[in-house]
Each structure stands twice: as C-alpha cells, then as structure tokens.
Symmetry: C2
Subunit: 619 residues, 2 copies
Amino acid sequence: MLHGYSSRILKVNLTTCSVVREELPEQYLKDYIGGLGLGARLYYDLVPPYVEPLSPENAVLLMTGPIQGTLIPGSGRGLFISKSPLTNRFFSSNFGGYLTRELKRAGYDGIVITGKSDKPLLLVVDDDNVEIRDASKLWGMNTYEVQNEIKEMLGDKRFQVACIGPAGENLVRITAIIHDIHAAGRGGIAAVLGYKKLKAIAVRGSKEVEVAYPDEVLEFFKEISKKARNHPFLVKYGTPAVMETVNKLGGLGTRNWQTEVFEGASKISGQTTIPKYKVKDLACSSCSIGCVKVQEVREGKYAGIWAKGPEYETLYALGSLTGVDDFPSIVVAARNCDELGLDTISTGVVIAFAMEACERGILTKEECDGLEINFGNGNTLVELVRRVGYRKGWLGNLLAEGVDRAAKVIGCGSQFFAMHFKGLELAGHSPRAVKAWTLGYSVGWRGGSHHDARPHDIEYANPVEVRAFSIEGKPELIRDTTLRVMVEESLISCRFYGGYYGVRLPTEVHSKIIKMVTGWEPTVNELTITAERIRNLIRVLEVREGFDSVADSNPPLRVLYEPIPEGPSRGARTDPREFKLMLRSFYELMGWDVRTGVPKEEKLRELGLDFAIGYCRRV
Amino acid sequence: MLHGYSSRILKVNLTTCSVVREELPEQYLKDYIGGLGLGARLYYDLVPPYVEPLSPENAVLLMTGPIQGTLIPGSGRGLFISKSPLTNRFFSSNFGGYLTRELKRAGYDGIVITGKSDKPLLLVVDDDNVEIRDASKLWGMNTYEVQNEIKEMLGDKRFQVACIGPAGENLVRITAIIHDIHAAGRGGIAAVLGYKKLKAIAVRGSKEVEVAYPDEVLEFFKEISKKARNHPFLVKYGTPAVMETVNKLGGLGTRNWQTEVFEGASKISGQTTIPKYKVKDLACSSCSIGCVKVQEVREGKYAGIWAKGPEYETLYALGSLTGVDDFPSIVVAARNCDELGLDTISTGVVIAFAMEACERGILTKEECDGLEINFGNGNTLVELVRRVGYRKGWLGNLLAEGVDRAAKVIGCGSQFFAMHFKGLELAGHSPRAVKAWTLGYSVGWRGGSHHDARPHDIEYANPVEVRAFSIEGKPELIRDTTLRVMVEESLISCRFYGGYYGVRLPTEVHSKIIKMVTGWEPTVNELTITAERIRNLIRVLEVREGFDSVADSNPPLRVLYEPIPEGPSRGARTDPREFKLMLRSFYELMGWDVRTGVPKEEKLRELGLDFAIGYCRRV
C-alpha cells in the first residue's frame, strides 16, 4: 500500500444531492501520481467529449497530490480541474493555502462535483461527515465575506473554505475560485461552480497524513526550509520583485503589449512598494518562504484598503498592461478582483484590450457605456473591474466573456491585439522577449498560462540573442520543462521550490520526495515516463474534441507580426516560420504526429495509454 | 395579372423523386420582383435557420426574374441560390447564357430542389414534361463533356444544361455550376448539388414569354442595343480590358495582395492578348455587347487549348494574384477550372494563399506533397487547380475547403493573409485602393463578391484622394449601390447594362423595364422601397443564424493593417477606426441597429416584413 494518499475520493452529485466515497485503484496513483495526472485520468473517465462547460455533465474536481498535508516544503497547494468555460478545454487551476492539507486530513485525495442544483448550496466536509447545505443566504456575498460567514456558521475557524464571488455567480468566464486570500485564478472554473450553484466548499480534517519515511521527511523539511528562508528575493519582496527584472530585460507587457518597457515599473515594483505598504507576510502550508505579502494603501481616497500582493502577475495585468502606475489604484482593483472572484490576469488583459480598442477608435463612447477608457487611467481600471465582475453595461458584459470572445464581437480586426493563447489571456512573461514562450504557451494545455512550460526559469538568465533571437534548442527546452511541470503539478509542489528540486527535467529530488512520502521509489527515468504519460493523456483530451491543428495553438498575431518597438528586446518577435519550426520539432520530440500534434499509436502504447488510441486515429 | 412571369415554380424533391408545380402569389412578385428578391423569400420560407449546407434540408433554387426570355437587353442571366457550404450563409450566384430564357419558355419562374439522392440524377425539364433520370454514367464527367453527352442523349442541342463537374462531386467548397461555358461561380453551390447527387439540369421550352407592352420592349431593345454595340471596351476586349485600368490605378491584387501593382499586367491584359489569341465572341440571350471572348493558346506545350475569357476576375485570381504572367498557363488553369467546375476567383485566392504560406515558410515541402509552390510558377498553378478539384493530397484537399478554413488548419498566423470576407475569397477589386469596397464587401450578403455593392463603377473615375484616402460619403454610396444591386439581381439584369440603366440608385429606367414587361409600374420610390425590403429580408437571413456582430463582417487583417507598399495607391489601407465609422454609418442609413446591424422593428414593419420581426428582437 502506498503511503501519503487517502486512496479515496468523494463524489458529489448536486442534482441528486448524493455523496459517494470511492476507492482509487493503486495503479492510478502509480501511473498518474496525483494532482494534475490523477485529475486528468478521472476527468477522462468522467467527462465525455464535447460536453458544454456550463452543463450538469461537466465536473469540477478538487485535487490533492501525495505530498499535501505532509511536511514536504512547497506542498501547500491544490488544484481545481474542470472543462473551462473560457477555453472550452480541460483545465487545471493551481492555488495555495491550507485547504488541501485539510482535505487530506479529512481522508480524501480529491472531491469530484457533478450535476447542478436549482438553489445555492454549500458543501461541508468534516472528516467523515459530509453535508450539502442550503446556501441561499450566502449567494451574492463577496469571497471574503462569505468565508468569514461560513466559519462563523460552522463555529470553527479551522474550517478551510474555497468559494466563488459574484463574478462566478454571474457566469463571468474569467473568474477565480478564492480560498482564504489565495486564488485558483485561471480558466473560469468558478463560473462552472456558479452554474452548478455551489457557492463554497468548507473542509476540516483531523487525521494525520502518514508518510513512508517520516524521519527522512523531517530531515528534508529542515534542509530545504533553511535554504528557502534565504531565497534571494521572495522572502523579502515576494513576486512583486519580479517586475523590475522583467522590465529590465525588456519583456514587460505594457499597454496591451504595444511595448514591453514600462516607464512606471519602478513605481509599482516590490522593491519600491513593499518597504512602504507591506503590512503582513503569509505562507502556505509547510512553507518557509512566505512569498505572499499583504499591502495596504496609506494615503488618499483609497487609504486603508489592502490587498493580497498584488502579486507580480497582477501588477503586470492591472498595472503595466493597462499603463497604470498609480499603486493605490492597482491595490484597489486587485482587492476587488479577489472579492468578486475574478482572475486578475485575464481581467487586466481584457481591460487593456478595451483600452487599445478605444485608443484605436473602434469602441465608441456609447459602447463604453459613457466611461472614459484610456491607458493609464486608474479610475477606469477600478470601475471596469466592477463592471466585468457584475456584467454591468454592454462592455462589462462583453469583457466578462474573455478577450477572444470579445474580439469576435467587436471585430474591426481587433483579434490582432487580443492577447491570448487558446482563449486564455496571456500571463506576464513575454512570448517575444523569451521566444521559447511562444512555443511554451502554444503547446500548453491551458494556453496563456505561465505555469504550463516555464522556460523563463532558465531563459531570463540568458543574453538577449539567446532568449529573444534564437530558436535553437527551444523545443527541447519546452519539452523538458513541460515534463517537469507534469511532475510538479501532480505532486502539487509549489513552483518556487523549483530552485531546490529542479527547473528543467524531473530530477532525483522529485523521485526522493515520492519515495519518502509513498514508499514507492520511481527512478528518474520512470518518473519522466510518468510525466510523458500524463502529458499525452492531457493531449488526448484536446485531440478527442477536435483540437488537432496547428491553428488551435495559434499565438496572438501581434506576437508573430509586430516586433517589440523599443528597449533591450527591441526587434524581437516570433516569425510565423520560426513558430512552425519550433512546433513541429516539439511534436516530434513528444512522439506526436508532426503535422497535427496527435499522439502516435506507438507512443500511447508505450505509455500504457492503449485505451485512448481510438481518439487518435486519423484517416 | 402580371405579365412576364410564369407565376409558378417547380418543386423537386430528390429523396422522394417527386415533382410538384406550385403557383406563386402575385403579391410575392410585386414585393420581391423575382430573382434574388423572390428567391430570398422562397428560401426564407423553405430553409430553416441553422440547416447544414450539405444536408437534404438545404435547398438549391434556380431562379429567373421577370425579364428572362424577353428582349430586354442584359436579360440573359439567372441565379442559383442556396445556403453556401463555403460561407454558411444564404448565397446567390449569378450566371449568363440561355438557360433561364429556356426555363421561362418552359413555363417556370424557378426550380426549387431539396432532398438527396443515393445515386446520380439528371433533371430534365421539357415544357410540362419533367423527368428525373438516372445519371450514373454521367458521374465523373467534366462539365464540357457532360453537357455534350446530355444534349446527345436528349437528341436536341436546344436543351440548355447546367451541371457540376468533378469538383462539385467531390464536395469541394469553392465550386462553380457550369452552364454552356458560363459559370455560376461563387459560393460553392455546386457542392450542394454534388451532395444531393444531382449532376445536371437540362431545360427546353417552347412557349413565348408574353410581355405587357411588346412594342415598347422592342423599341427599348433597339435603342439600348445600338448604344451597347458601342460599349467603350467590352465589345472589343471583354472584361480582360479591365486589367490595365485596375493596374494603372494601383489596385490590382498581386501576389496574394502583398502589392497592388503587377509588373506582368500588360502581358496578360485583353489589350495585349485579344488581338493575338481570340477565336470567338459569344453573347448571352438578348445582348449586343457579347463580352465573352474565347481565347486559344497558339504555341508551346499548351497549343490548341482554349478557354472562355479568361475574364478579368480570372486573370486577376489565376494571374496577378498568383504572380503568373504566362498567359498560356492562365488559359489552361482557367479551362481546367471550368471543366472541373471550380470557381476561378476562389481557386486563385486559395492558391495564392498557399504560395504566400510557402514563401513565409509555414507550409513545409512535405505538406505541399512534394510540389514546388511559389509565386509566378505557372506549372504549379495548373497542377494545383487539378489537385483542388480532385481534393488530391493533403494540401489539395485542404485548399478545397476555401481559404478561411485552410488558414484555420495551417495556423501560424496565416489568417492575417487569408484574403476573404465572410469566408468568401476576395474578388479582383481592391478594398484598399477603393476604400468604399472595404465597406461594400463587409456588408455584402456574400462577402468577397464584387457584385454585392459595386462602388468601383463610380470610384474608379475618382482621384486617389477620394477613392483610397477618404471615407466621406462612402456609406451613402454603398447604401445606394446596394439598393440598385437589389433591383438588378431581382430583375436579373446584367451588370454591364448599368451604364445605360443606372450605376448608383434604382432609376426610372428600372421602373420602365418593369412596366414594359409586367404591366405594373412602380415609381422609383416604390422600387427603392422594394430594394430595401429585399436587402432587409436577406439581412434577416444572416441575423436569424446569429451573424449579428461587427466581427461577422471583419475585413481581412491585411486590408486593415498593411498599407499598399507601392504604386499609385501607395499607403492606402482601411484603418480599423475608419471601417467602424463607415459600418455604423451604413447601419444607420439602413435603419439597422448601429451596433449589431440588426434591422429595427419599425424598419421591418415599414417594409411589410412583420413576419421576420421575431428574429430581430434582442434582449
């Protein structure tokens, strides 16, 4: 028997209000580890192809991996998995905190939610007691209010809560699920919960998670924690420190990626704001970095308002991308996103898109519902966040659909500057200044997420000729980091421990972690094959719904045709030819058909995915 | 009773092989005239929204108007109408010859074909004798062979035949229906017939078409014919003369619209080739212009091969657009298109698209099935026509889907240079050198057809500042010419008589024609309202299937973002802002919602289209 797992999941059907506990076969755990891998397999089994994301048939999975609830540093993460109403594809959204630790302690590796209720519900998991309660009086509450209310109701602050805000209730496609002050930000899974009328999940557990080698785990915890406490910038500044780095190399998305140098970067970067505004550090379960900073506005009309972070990605999306360098406005916009349950990245991208559309004169004043929409306008930023979250007005309602759908309504060639991959708004790492990212985003299962491939962990250290102007070795790099990410996302290990566990391929450290926790010790080679198995299965999930052409991976046209106009990465773009070359080469490295990216029969067989071959046959 | 009409249509169901004659209500004739208007109304009644173009439920209509079979000059035209498998919208395709005269003489205003057969069929209409015959031995024949074979079979060369070629049989989406040597070229309706397994329609009629005022018609015929015989260039050169005009003003689509000046224009223009290669002039029914020239290659490997035209549009699409200035290659490619039943315009555009994709390195040699694909290569042109018509190889099969679908598979940002409006490949009149065309194509019911609005009849005479660099008055111009086109397409009057009947709004000449033929004399104002009624009904046909956003009218991105790089129209493009302004203004002039282009309730009521209001309500 493998340690570390509960080996069972909870299946909740909201239509029938039924709850079932199901054993997980041990082979699933060895074949797919947990988290992303296990979730992908459960999703494959549960969600038939072509299901509408907003339908009772779609499932939402809350997943843990083997390390949650243990002392392994960086284990304070979890995943929500569903078919995304934004991208129409299998999606996973990673978040921090204590929720999955609690779920493991309650005795579950995951929760699977299907069906749809007519009235708002709350799911309470309290060890073996599982209850579906009426949540009518919670409906409409923002994410911070509702968590407090639930803990009050349940009479114990140890309950960990994940919830949706008004944006999820309004089926906004760029929503986030909020747990504590953490966000499962991407892909709009909160809208699926909103559709299903599940306002929140509260979890409390009392069982210790048993590991195979507790002494080794403790030793490992001590060793890594000590190193992590000396992290060069995360301990002191958190992710906001990244802003200056990225700006300095000329890859900071600014004014909807019209340029990649932001003149206001130093006004909003961590190095400037943390000393002035930070009121608190927070850490997830078993983490000694504590990268989460809480910052509070001290003066002006927003005095007294605080927000989590804002993290680097939020500073990019709500800051440089909208041209706003007024830090208090960003704090307020970020706080509102969190309270409404909006993804700050996607929200910033749709707002920046609207700003460029206005600048170009293809959105009229009337279509803007009277709002003055222009780059650098902090008031507009704050107001638009609210309108998107509540689907207020013609434009707010439209932007709530995400940038791809919005461009398809606004037309006038606006798809040229709709910054997304696969329908997912682009994160704050440049696909032009780091050419490998063009490939990385394109072959990511999510699209515009900076957690699908992460070449920048390596490329940011390289000179501009290598990172921005060469395609040599990029397909190999993306293949390698993709495989590593499979392991990290299946263990559900925090990315910020990559420096200690490995930033390219799966490593012996990953093997060792699995051994210490589960007792099973896969070799690095076995682990790499497992990573391949997971990635191939996820590719099948795309392929079986017809996403099997190069065009399904199209980068934004701006990335292909418009060079960065200034700064250290000036002149960089990914020529369509380079993109094609990288893509084919990546497909080849993966054992996929070079033309379509469809996994080859022999590859699937080699990985034990014979059951999926039928979806990959092409005439 | 109105003269000029037969007042009945033939309804043929290919599933049941049933034939029904149906009376047309007189009010339909007054409300919709005939041709496009009447066809749109019959289509509205018959084809429910969201029908698959390639399904038994889709209908193909062969329409005449009031003037077919009379002496009215320019009346030798007809229309095929269906839901296009290329654009997924209501579509009409205009063609010349003698077929519709014969149909009128047989006693029908139109034929409506529904259902689907399992084996190939031939429809024979011989006055009141209507027969559906097995056509198994005709299947696979090219369009010229099959017409001869059918006339032979039926024992009378007076039978007029419309047929499909191998391309239609292969469900190629860019097919043409061929009658004699004329083509109902656009929109791929031949594929609908191919799906239904109707290889051909043969028609012979023996009844005189009675008109209300025969003496006046005769007088009119004499007067116009005399003028027409002096047409400044069509009599002598036909449409091939247009090539030099368009090239001189810097608006000739060249190498997939990368530029609009073609250095080889004078090598392939009518002024050069007609004196050398013309072997015959041909005219449609009741026409004294005889714009159709037949040209034959005299030397080299293609010696002895002749083709209809090639018309200006064909010279553009298979010539300048592919960079080919070798006239014999164009003749052969054109002849092959006609025999295979391919639309020369769409075929040229998809080939030029493939050439640019190769030039940019985003189509590999392997994807080109070993073919060397580059601009200016006449051998490749001829070979690719064949591959498209037979769906040969990966690329031939893909290009057979049309440029929009092809770009969606090829990806790599190729949609930037996929030259189409609404999925219909762009005709040979520049939307940059004639800015009004950007609007004209966008608001056309077909998209990339140069017969939807025709501002160039006026704009080509204007200086470059007016035609290429100003948007002033363009929405009014497009509104006006659109309304005129409604009248022309409903009478089914040849465009080349526009110079005598009117090139902007409907005129008294149009009124007079209707009076002379039918006995009913609408005022110009009444006629304009009728034109509006028809255009609004056709707009409803788009709107009821969800085509109600600006993006559904998106111009190709190249038109919006890439200025013409050289020549007399250098620097011209249609800025997205200008496009938006023109579009809204056009919508306003039409009485449509300025944001969506959905006809307003009061406008539909005013036009007697109350029955369609339900489709135009928006929450």
